[in-house]
Amino acid sequence: MKNFSYAMPTSIHQTIEFAATSDAMILAGGTELLNWTRIGIVEPSKLVDITRVAGLEGIERLPNGMVRIGALTKLNDVALHPLIRKSYPVLSTSILKAASAQIRNLATIGGNPLQRVRCPYFRADEPTPCNKRIPRSGCAALHGLNEKHAIFGWTEDCVAVQPSDPAAALAALDAVLVTQSKQGERRIPATTFHTLPSEDPTAHSVLQHGELISSIELGDAVPKSAYLKIRERESYEYATVSAAVALEMDGSVIRRARIALGSVAMRPWRLVETERRLAGLRSDSPEIIPAVKAGFDDARPLSMNRYKIRLAQNTTVRAIEMAVQA
């Protein structure tokens, strides 16, 4: 790890001043950033440690019924909060299925969506073609080891997936990430926070240099929601695919469905066509499976991951059943 200089601001104002200086990066939980510096993915000359900035931690219900989660709130504290468990089980479960108990005591809800792809070429100790590591160097995964890679929204410049579990839940909930910078406040929908390779294969998210995620806002409670994560090991493993489902029901009829898949694209992938077809169906309707399949019309497998299409469809169907029973 190359050395860096270090500052510990105590206010948001100080943070955005310090973070705007050249070659500075913001440090929160540190569970990703420290590993990036070890591998050489980033080599910041300055770190701005925000762990003692006042007013960035905690969960509160706003007068308009929305819920605001401070960006520095630890993952375990979000997942185990009574309000989140009761009103947004999809978010609580997605967090508890992520990482380990120790890491969830460090990692923050604001930092989590900033985790970068798990593609072995991106994370390699030795340089390999990867447009996210070295722009315009190519994509070794396109014809290489790509069994865990994208089935939606990839281009020949990048086939990696965004691995965050909570990000999928936040996308299904239409959460909003609130940011602060010298340019003022920005409100970024969780559904478009991550950058598709068609937009920029070198980018991970739309967050700009010097921009601080200060909170995440959730809309109305969605108690009928669920998160299903499929992986090769029962715990402490990244998803092969995951499904975040948020339902609004009238009795046994689905009034509105929101579904975001994790680890299938560079951003949580909303199944828009499936959502459209599910509205108005009974929760035991035989039309549910065809509705799910319709959301995969634009899925495209890579050389080693055709299995992920069927796996993601089945995961979605099961997650809908779980949400109905929640």
């Binding site: 790890m1 190359k2 050395n3 860096f4 200089s5 270090y6 500052a7 510990m8 601001p9 100080q14 310090f18 200086t21 440090l27 939980g29 540190g30 569970t31 420290l34 590993n35 510096t37 070890r38 300055k46 770190l47 440690d49 762990t51 990482a99 380990s100 108990a101 120790q102 890491i103 005591n105 460090l106 029962e234 715990s235 402490y236």
Partner: protein, 201 residues
């Protein structure tokens, strides 16, 4: 403590543990100069700092570079080598310690971030010759072979019981999954954690 590698550091470790409320640990001045950057950073950024850590109830002051992890400072500056360095990437859990009462991976925390905080390590669990109940349970249940992951397992297990995530063996396995054991002593580890949890209930 019969291990020659252990006795080499025994003097300084005893001094640290028995030295009373405040023990100063100063770096070698030659090392400081050798690794100091050529030009000082612009304030408020610093390239080294003297921090205080309260480890197992004993206060320490130590000068660190910002990149020094809490794990490295515990092992290499305070000579508390009970906390193990496995993967150094937050993947194995061998470095699990308690930071302000919560279990964390010591390799994923900068020491400078922990300035002023309370830390508990495996060395702080026993009361003199009286082992902590979790340490005794690991022995009673044969919950290790090589022992390298054991300090991290035990620190994680103590927290797991305190958190109340011990309602079933499945729950214990889930909340202990951040600690990898290459000898695969998992059934015995779960038995040890379960036994301590039941005794506390």
């Amino acid at each position: 403590m019969d291990d020659p590698k252990e006795t080499r550091k025994a003097f300084s470790r005893r001094a640290l543990l028995k030295g009373g409320a405040i023990v100063a640990v100063t770096s070698l001045s030659g090392v400081s100069e050798a690794i100091a950057p050529k030009s000082a950073p612009d304030p408020p950024f610093v390239s080294r700092a003297t921090i205080s850590l309260v480890v197992n109830g004993v206060s320490h002051r130590v000068e660190v570079e910002p990149r020094s992890t809490l794990l490295d400072v515990l092992r290499e500056r305070l000579y508390l080598t009970g906390t193990k360095k496995g993967c150094n990437r937050g993947e194995c859990g061998a470095c699990t310690i308690h930071l302000d009462g919560r279990r964390v991976n010591g390799c994923l925390v900068l020491a400078i971030t922990a300035d002023g905080k309370k830390i508990e390590t495996i060395e702080g669990l026993a009361n003199g010759d009286q082992l902590h109940p979790m340490q005794q349970a690991f022995i009673d249940h044969d919950a290790f072979q090589c022992g390298y992951c054991t300090p991290g397992q035990i620190m994680s297990a103590v927290a797991c019981v305190a958190e109340g995530h011990t309602g079933s063996n499945a729950e214990i396995r889930e909340w202990m999954s951040g600690n990898i054991c290459r000898c695969s002593a998992y059934p015995q580890i779960v038995a040890a954690v379960s036994a301590v949890a039941k005794r506390n209930a």
